[in-house]
Structures are given as structure tokens and as C-alpha cells.
Amino acid sequence: MNKSIELKDGSQIAVIGGGPAGSFFAYFALDFAERYGMDIGVDIIEGKDFNCAGPTGCNHCGGIVSESLIQSLSTEGIILPSNVIRRGIESYTMHLEQGSTVIETPLNEQRIASMFRGLGPRGIKDNEQLSFDNYLMELSHQKGATLISGRVTETKKTPDGIVLKTKDGFEKKYDLVVGAVGLNARTFKLFQQINPSFVPPKTTKTHICEFHLGKDMINEYFGNSMHVFLLNLPNIKFGALIPKGNYVTMVLLGSDINKEIVAAFLESEPVRSCFPEDIDLNDYMPCQCYPSINILGAKSAFDDRMILIGDSASSKLYKNGIGAAYITAKAAARTAIFEGVSKHDFKKHYQPVCNELDRDNIIGKFIFLVTTVIQKSPILKKGLLRMVVKEQKKEKNKRYMSSVLWDTFTGSAPYTDIFKRTLNPILIKNLIGNTFSGLIIGTKSK
């Protein structure tokens, strides 16, 4: 059926999940409706209390808000408050077994924020700082969204809407139901009940843990730099240490990360040398988890009067998931307000946005494959390191490899753009040159 179903004055929208995707959807749906002169109601139903410390209030994540998202939000007039930002990131420090180098931000300004999704790790005492997810949810509340605390446990399709029920007995019929439920398998089943063709995204296990080191130690050992590791360790595609106020967050991405892989990473020389020598890291670790990450987008993530967004639909491979949530949430809100809420409307106006993310991830997979090859080759890593060290002394527009690495680490640019830049003949020539001169110097010094 190719008919459009349009929202009208008085239409009611439910957003299940108040993570970034849910809050962005609510904010923009209300913003667009106001500009368009339409009076709609938006309820956000969220099961967690983001004002809690530890896992209860946390949507497990590295907590980096990317440069591209910060720029888009600033243009929208959304300025992250000081008490949500735990640190402004000024540079990336790349660590290899062969050495380390700092990659400076392309402009002399802080454009990347580190934050906590909830109040912070278990036992956090810094009560002046606020949760990122709570900030976004409050922002959509100020726009007019109603916040409902509860867990949706039932969905039922009727001829003119979808009925939702929560665990606490709340029940309401909606004209549109938006699933911004992250990677919650149980809630996915509720969506499969109203849309049997929905295939949830594919996931893999990652690892996050927090180190409570205190501000002084962090300033001395990490500064405002995010530390990234390209090490020859199995399963790990990317490891990072992210400074945040009194904490450092460790993130390991790759495939099926487990305890042994985490231990190998922590014991490796480049990682250990980032921390003070005399401390036992286990004594400084209040929180750790093994959350899932979206590695392949969902299929049929919409139907008449229902749509899934954010991690529940398509994301960006390994990076900037919050930025991808912003993109899919906004595309869904644009479609719902200006086009309609039928399967046909979403297919025509929302699906292309997910397709673009999915296509970009194919290139992303290739980039990470190349990175894995580099990770395993000491010769290439030496060449890469030499090249970046040299580039950092050059003018900013001549730092070809640094800018590629910057965008790969920060997740700020689409993988397709990054890939195109790696084909720059100067970059290739310099990498080959630096690899060979590294080899010659290496042989001579032997």
C-alpha cells in the first residue's frame, strides 16, 4: 500500500527510549511541528534514571561527542553545558609498540567533548556534574515533550494506532511509535510483534571500564588528550583511554572482547606506560562492563505508524554512534512531520538515510581491515609513526596522514571521505617513503 498517513493537530507520538536517539527525535519532531504550525504531543518513555551513578543510570559508551556532532548541534543552537562536559579534548595521542605521537586538533580550539551518559561510574561523588543523556532528555522536555518513567512491556497494533503498555500499568494509544531502544533484545521482540519483518541489528561485545585516578594524576599523565592504541593484539580493532574529570574511561572495540583480551591489553607496555608505574589498576576500577555495539544495520526498521532509530536501526561502525543517532532521529522526525508516518513514507524519505550510513560502514569495514593489517606489521607502523611525527611539524593543510587518522579516531567524517583522502598520491608516496627510510635506518642501526 503506497498511501501516506499524515499526522495532524492533536496527533500523539510515543518515543520508547530516552537515549540520544529518542531525545533528538522528540526535540526535532516538536521543533519541526512548531515551525510547520502543527500541534502534536510527544511522550518519551524511558526505563532508566540517568541521574543515578553506575550501571543503573548509564547507557554504556566511551562518552565522546564527536567534532561533527558538536558543530551540528552548535549550528542548531544546542550548546553543551559546562557541567555535562567532563573534559574538552584537544589532541589524540597515538600509541604503537614502536612509539607514541600526539596528533593535534586541526584548529586551535576544543571541538570534542568527553562526558558520562549517566551521572558517572559507581560511587562517583562529583555531584556538580550532570548526565549527558539526562541533559538531552531535559532539552526535549523544554521543547514540550512529556517524560514518562517506565519500561514498555506490551505493544499492540489497532487499525488507527499502536497501543503501548508499561510495567507500571500506564496505557495509551499513539498515532506513531518510535523505537529508540538501543540494542535491547527484549524490546526488539515488542517491535517484531507489530512488525514481523523487522530484523534487529547485528552486534558484537565490547569492553568499557573506568579508572578513578583523580584530577591531578589525570592532568599529569593524560592531559586533555584522548589516547588511542593500534597494537598487535587479537580481536582488538581499537583501544582508547579517554580522560574525564576525575576518571579515565577505557574502551576496547573489536570482535567478541572478553576478560583475557582486556587483560592482555592492560598488560601491554604502551598501555601500562600511560599510567603511573606504582599503582595497581584493579584498585582504581569502580565500574566495568561488556556492552554490545551495532556492527550491521537492522532490516525493515519501519512499518505503518512505527519506526526504529539510532542504534536500533543503523549506526556508524565503531565510532560516533551518538552522531549517527542524531542523523537517523532527525531524518525520522523530518519524515514524520513533513511527509507522513506510513511504511511508504518512511521507505521513501527515511530508508535512504539509513542506506547511506550502511554503505559508509562497508567502506568503514575496509578501513578497519587495512588498520588491522597495519596493526600486525611493525614495519608499516614504524613508517606511519615517522610520517605523523614529521607531519606534526608541518603546516596544518599538509598533514595528510594526520588528518586521515584524526577523522578515523574521532569518527567525525564519513568513512567514504576518509577513504578518498587515503588515495591522495602525496599521502601514499610519503607513507612508502617513510616506511622505506625506517627500514634502512633500522637495518643500519642493527
Binding site: 551540528s72 552548535s74 543552537g77 557541567n83 562536559i85 574538552g88 523530518r334
Partner: protein, 120 residues
């Protein structure tokens, strides 16, 4: 300024953009206040004061011309640059990103008209 806000820190009185110089990026105030000044006459004329979340330099995005005013930090201010290329690439995909710019530019035109009418 002890805050964690992003952007670049400008000290009191420091110029962010200078009238007559070329420029092609947009600036968004993350914290603090800036003064917009016309330096074309003998005496400086303060045209406006802008605060958090407000932007300036938007003409540089749309025209290839010199900056029409000077903008200076009043007290310490943190300001973020939005690059022209990023801006165009993003609004190409999501034109609604320009709604707020259009709205504010329309507000500014209304203000200017009001000022002109008061002068007559």
C-alpha cells in the same frame, strides 16, 4: 574562565573577526559575550551584543566578501568555528540545519529595519 565549555578561549577585548578582512566561517558563542562593532566611521559604533548560543560571521558563509563588522570578546568568551565546507556538506544532506540561521538572519533584518525607521 574555569568552565569545561568547548571552543577557543578569547580574552577580554580580543578580536574574533576584523572588519575588512576576508573570512569564510561561522562562529557560535559557547560561553560569554561578544560585541559587534562598526569601525567604518571615525568613531566605533557598537551595533550589538551577542551571548551564548548566538552566532556571527554568517555572511562569510554565503558571500565572498570581507567581514562587515569587527567582533570582539567582552570579558572572556569561548567561541566555536563552523567551517564553511563542513557547513555546506551537512546542509546538503540536511537542509533543516539552516532553519535556525534563516530565522536569526530574518530577526536581524527586522531589527535593522526597525532601527532605520527610528532614524527617519
Amino acid at each position: 574562565m574555569k568552565s569545561n565549555k568547548l571552543g577557543r578561549l578569547y580574552q577580554n577585548g580580543e578580536e574574533v573577526i576584523k572588519q575588512g578582512e576576508m573570512g569564510d566561517c561561522l562562529y557560535v558563542i559557547q560561553e560569554g559575550v561578544v560585541e559587534v562593532i562598526d569601525e567604518s566611521g571615525e568613531k566605533e559604533i557598537k551595533l550589538a551584543e551577542l551571548g551564548e548560543s548566538e552566532f556571527f560571521g554568517e555572511m562569510g558563509l554565503f558571500e565572498k566578501d570581507v567581514r562587515s563588522c569587527t567582533v570582539r570578546a567582552k570579558g572572556d568568551a569561548k567561541i566555536m568555528t563552523i567551517d564553511k565546507r563542513n557547513f555546506y556538506k551537512t546542509i546538503q544532506k540536511d537542509p533543516s540545519l539552516a532553519y535556525r540561521l534563516l530565522e536569526k538572519m530574518s530577526n536581524r533584518l527586522r531589527e535593522t529595519n526597525k532601527k532605520l525607521r527610528n532614524k527617519e
